[in-house]
């Protein structure tokens, strides 16, 4: 009778488990690709590939629970390490395979690091403008900042994921010692529009300041969904409360007074700080003659950090990399700009600690495969020239 630990290890290292995992990955990829037509790329990525479990609705009616790609890849990594590295016989004949497995494991680890730690967004600048933060494409947050006449202030942020659960009912209260109030969030809608309560469809909805929030069906292009939420601010000292609707496209934040101070509460795309500043010096766009097809579009930027500046060019396939951040030339606008009209440049910003993992993994895999086939060839040639074997290699 094997010990349980040994049995568990054998299971983890099993080729059968690897086959099951590959099969499930195939099924998941197929179903996710099909689902993408209905739900859009971002939603499918989150539900099928960045998750532990997923329920796929076959035909829209039959629930089919499946492990998510995150779980499958984790199990695959464990299987690879146990079966393809630890348990594998260590000799020259298998050295190449072993190295290849290490490369694949590196690829998987790189994927995990990216899934957990990478952030991406964009910054849009006109010539002469500068920014030290960038905005997420998809993530939203609630930002609370004190309104002061001037000078710096502290901004508090609540990630959208923390109050998204109120979409199905209930509420969530957020507190912070430095704030003279607590903030209760309810009625979150991922895609919504505020409508006047006096309108034809205003009856029965929760109304705040003459408006109610009407949830809309989420659109496939996730970045086009504009969320909305109800907030109630309760003053710690007086116990008084103030209600407001926050909407992702509101022109200005809701302003509340609490603790003798004014606070701005906004719902916006997540903003992330850069440890340096990027200034757009010049944006160049050239079109092919008599077409609207771009020939060249390039941003000349200055990176400013601690008073020191460095100039760089960002163009198609030529990003600018610095301190773990990569800036790509993403787009420009306005799209129908007339000749002479100022243009803005949009730079995609990505911070991926495992950015080079695929490159390193590929090098390791190529080396491993080269070693494996090299050893095989060498062994073959050596066998062919063994004494007593007939010339010409006939067996």
């Amino acid at each position: 009778m094997k010990r349980p630990a040994r049995k568990l290890f054998d299971l983890c290292a099993s080729t059968g488990v690897a086959c099951v995992l590959f099969l499930l990955l195939f099924v998941l990829t197929f179903l996710g690709t099909v689902e993408q037509v209905q739900s859009g790329l971002y939603d499918v990525q989150q539900r099928y590939f960045h998750s532990l479990f997923v329920v796929h609705w076959a035909g829209g009616v039959v629930p089919l629970p499946l492990p998510g790609a995150y779980l499958l890849m984790t199990l695959l990594l464990v299987n690879l390490i146990c079966g393809g590295i630890v348990r594998m016989r260590k000799d020259w004949a298998r050295a190449g395979v072993l190295v290849t497995h290490v490369g694949i494991a590196l690829l998987l680890v790189g994927g995990f690091v990216r899934a957990r730690s990478a952030v991406e967004g964009h910054m849009t600048l006109y010539e002469g403008e500068r920014a030290d933060e960038f905005e997420s494409y998809y993530e939203w947050e609630m930002a609370i900042a004190e309104v002061k006449a001037g000078g710096e202030c502290t901004e508090y942020a609540i990630p959208g994921a923390e109050f998204a659960g109120t979409a199905s009912g209930g509420s969530m209260t957020f507190v912070r010692e430095e704030l003279p109030f607590d903030l209760t969030v309810s009625g979150y809608a991922r895609n919504a529009v505020p409508r006047p309560a006096s309108g034809p469809m205003g009856g029965g909805a929760r109304t705040v300041d003459g408006f109610y929030l009407e949830p809309l069906v989420a659109v496939k292009q996730a970045e086009q969904n504009i969320p909305g939420v109800y907030v109630t601010v309760r003053d710690h000292k007086t116990g008084g409360s103030h209600e407001a609707i926050l909407w992702g496209m509101q022109r200005c934040p809701a302003v509340i007074e609490s603790g003798g101070r004014r606070w701005a509460v906004d719902l916006r795309k997540v903003r992330r700080q850069l440890p340096f500043t990027i200034a757009l010096d010049k944006f160049t766009r050239e079109l092919h003659p008599r077409t609207s097809i771009p020939k060249v579009f390039m941003s000349e930027v200055t990176k400013i950090e601690d008073g020191a500046s460095e100039q760089a060019r960002i163009s198609m396939n030529e990003p600018f990399r610095y301190r773990g951040y990569t800036f790509y030339q993403a787009s420009w606008g306005p799209p129908n700009a007339q000749p002479g009209q100022p243009l803005y440049s949009t730079l995609a910003v990505v911070r991926n600690p495992a950015e080079n993992a695929p490159l390193y993994a590929s090098v390791v895999i190529v080396f491993g495969l080269g070693l494996h086939f090299g050893v095989r060839l060498w062994r073959h040639l050596r066998t062919e020239h063994l004494p007593g074997r007939p010339a010409g290699g006939a067996r």
Partner: protein
């Protein structure tokens, strides 16, 4: 015996995977979040990220009223209407919102834009030398196009407004099933329209398409309306 041996790995899989699955689900269930949570993120900033307008109403924040310029709703030209010059469509200018693509020329339209993810939504401007039936008739027609009954005349006075050519212009947002001129009905559509009645003519701005697209472009629509301006005659 062979069959039993072959079954063994699968028994192992079931023995280990099922408890693991149950444990994972239990952990997921136990990660229930309390209704009170601390705000953990903070950072120093130069100020709020958007311009702050203390005292702004929800209507102003959501773009239903020009910010800081609340205007009374007027559904008919005011005093002095007869003295105004005629509206010259050729002198109208505007700012094209980001992502809007010029569409093909159509009769009775000054300009058409295609927008939205699949270009199924269009927004266009029509200019008339007269009132073209007026606010009530046109808004009623739009409601009927969307499969709804026309609102009572009194409700028009409650419509939000946007400033077009300096004129407070009522804006409607209608969601429903759109019936086109051929009689085909498409559910899940929305119509957003603004009516500018001014001395010497009228301007209609209309956006029509899938509800998600129209809702997403709402702010652009209002900005587009507000950007309409008449170039001065040389």
């Amino acid at each position: 015996m062979q069959t039993v041996k072959r079954m063994k790995p699968f028994c192992h899989i079931i023995r280990v995977c099922v408890p693991a699955l149950v444990l994972a689900l239990a952990l997921a269930g136990c990660s229930g979040r309390g209704t009170v949570r601390p705000i953990t993120r903070s950072r120093s900033v130069a100020g709020p990220s958007k311009p702050v307008r203390p005292g702004a109403s929800s209507a102003e924040r959501f773009g239903f009223q020009p910010a800081a310029h609340p205007q009374p709703v007027r559904t008919a030209p005011g005093p002095g209407a007869g003295e105004a010059p005629a509206l010259d469509a050729a002198r109208l200018r505007w700012d094209t919102p980001e992502g809007w693509q010029p569409g093909p020329d159509r009769p009775m339209r000054l300009v058409t834009y295609l927008l939205g993810a699949e270009g199924r939504t269009e927004c266009y401007v029509s200019v008339f030398a007269d009132s073209a039936g007026g606010l009530e008739a046109n808004v009623g027609r739009w409601y009927r196009q969307m499969g709804l009954e026309a609102p009572p005349a009194a409700a028009l006075a409650e419509l939000p407004v946007v400033a077009i050519l300096g004129q407070p212009s009522p804006v409607v947002y209608i969601a429903g099933a759109y019936t086109d001129m051929a009689g085909a009905t498409t559910p899940g559509y929305a119509l957003m329209g603004a009516v500018c009645e001014r001395p010497g003519g009228s301007v209609f701005v209309k956006m029509l398409g899938p509800e998600g697209d129209v809702a997403a472009e709402r702010e652009h629509f209002l900005a587009f309306c507000a950007s309409l301006r008449a170039e001065e005659a040389p």
